[in-house]
């Protein structure tokens, strides 16, 4: 059974007005959606707001989910829209401008491991927005190239190219960083 099949059944029940199905979906998908926002350099408080807004938007747009279609691209397309819109509003109010001034410093900083495992957000912070987003969807949400292409309204070729560049970037940036030796499991 495809891992998305469960989600498809839950989404169909949600469309039929089943609150238990909606609750299960929210509990099951919120951690990865929240992480999606945190990885995009949002603070936890911002990620909380974005998560809440995303679910309210999903609730309003739940009729647009089509039975039999993968759930994650649909869900991430909405989450991505909320995030982009949030940044646009922030930029207008000037707050984004302030954060952009801090961003180069953050991006230039090598990731610092906490305990035995490096922070995902710290690793992905080394990448530009579009590459970070693609890698997050593929490696954290477990989406296929096709699903990421659907979620980002782009072609599979473009997603492949971004993923390839992300790996190139990470290879350059992570080489020589101490935690690589500690966390790569010693594999060559």
């Amino acid at each position: 059974m495809h891992p998305d099949s469960d989600l498809q059944i839950l989404m169909e029940l949600y469309q039929e007005g089943d609150l238990a199905a909606a609750t299960t979906l929210i509990h099951r998908l919120s951690p990865q959606l929240h992480r999606f926002f945190v990885v995009q350099l949002a603070s936890r408080a911002e990620a909380d707001d974005l998560l809440q807004e995303t679910w309210l938007r999903i609730h309003k747009a739940r009729n647009t989910y089509r039975s039999g279609e993968p759930v994650l691209p649909w869900l991430y397309a909405i989450a991505r829209h909320i995030r982009v819109d949030h940044y646009r509003k922030e930029r207008r109010t000037g707050a984004r401008h302030r954060r952009l001034e801090d961003a180069p410093e953050l991006a230039a900083r090598p990731p610092e491991p906490s305990g035995d495992t490096p922070e995902l957000a710290a690793i992905l912070a080394l990448l530009p927005d579009s590459q970070r987003e693609v890698l997050e969807m593929m490696k954290v949400a477990g989406m296929s190239l096709e699903e990421v292409a659907r979620a980002t309204s782009s072609s599979v070729g473009s997603v492949k190219q971004k993923a390839h560049r992300a790996y190139e970037n990470l290879r350059k940036r992570l080489s020589g960083v101490e935690f690589v030796k500690r966390h790569s499991g010693g594999g060559s």
Binding site: W55, I78, H81, A149, L170, V180
Partner: protein
């Protein structure tokens, strides 16, 4: 460093549990629970695309019926066989693009901007081959009349499209507006081809195709305005 090593690092990092405040989730569930009801899923994409094609054709035919089928009557068989398929194909493509723009997570076969450029270039090429009379009379005046007429029929097409797709959700309102404007503009040009008997090459090349550009730009601009003016939640429903 190899890709496998990067994969391992990412996989380990991704396996670290990411907690979300339980009170936040309770709040979300509470908000959703208050307005929980069954919703009817949208019709299949093919049905919506068919509906948009029908709306475009109906508006163009109704406009020509009101103003007269002078254009198509003046055309020879070759011109009819070239111009109308060249309009029907992009109308179908623009309808498909618009429908996919209003359903999140749909596979995007062609971007609305690429569609607009391709449709315009294809029409320009066909018009340039078919209409060779480069002599002009009242170029500006006649042109503005055709532009205004085309736009006048693009507007009801856009309105009809909005009615059909109003329950959709555009994750990129500007692209959705561009697709809607392109579709409406194509319906306007179809009406002009049925109605306008002016076959001067420059008139057709400049003013008829301008209907698509003006309509597409208007659609994108309006949707951009709606997006900017919207407060939370932040996107127009289609």
């Amino acid at each position: 460093m190899k890709d496998r090593e990067i994969d391992q690092i990412l996989e380990r990092a991704a396996q670290v549990p990411h907690e979300v405040d339980a009170r936040l989730l309770e709040r979300v569930i509470g908000s959703i629970g208050q307005s929980m009801s069954a919703v009817r899923p949208r019709p299949a994409a093919g049905v919506l695309v068919g509906g948009l094609v029908l709306i475009s054709a109906a508006v163009a035919l109704a406009g020509a019926a009101l103003r007269g089928f002078h254009g198509i009557q003046k055309m020879n068989g070759w011109e009819r066989a070239s111009v109308f398929p060249a309009l029907i194909v992009p109308i179908w493509l623009a309808s498909a693009a618009l429908v996919s723009e209003t359903i999140p997570g749909t596979r995007r076969r062609v971007s609305p901007a690429a569609l607009l450029a391709t449709a315009n270039l294809a029409l320009l090429a066909i018009f340039a081959v078919l209409f060779r009379d480069y002599h002009t009379v009242n170029f500006l005046y006649q042109g503005l009349i055709c532009l205004a007429t085309g736009i006048a029929y693009a507007i009801p097409t856009a309105f009809g499209s909005w009615l059909l797709l109003r329950h959709g959700f555009a994750v990129n309102p500007v692209d959705a507006g561009l697709a809607a404007g392109t579709l409406a503009g194509l319906a306007g040009v179809t009406m002009l081809e049925l109605h306008c008997p002016n076959f001067e090459a420059l008139h057709v090349l400049v003013w008829h195709t301008a209907v698509i550009l003006v309509s597409a730009a208007g659609g994108a601009y309006l949707h951009g305005l709606i997006r900017r003016s919207n407060s939370k939640p932040s996107s127009p429903d289609y």
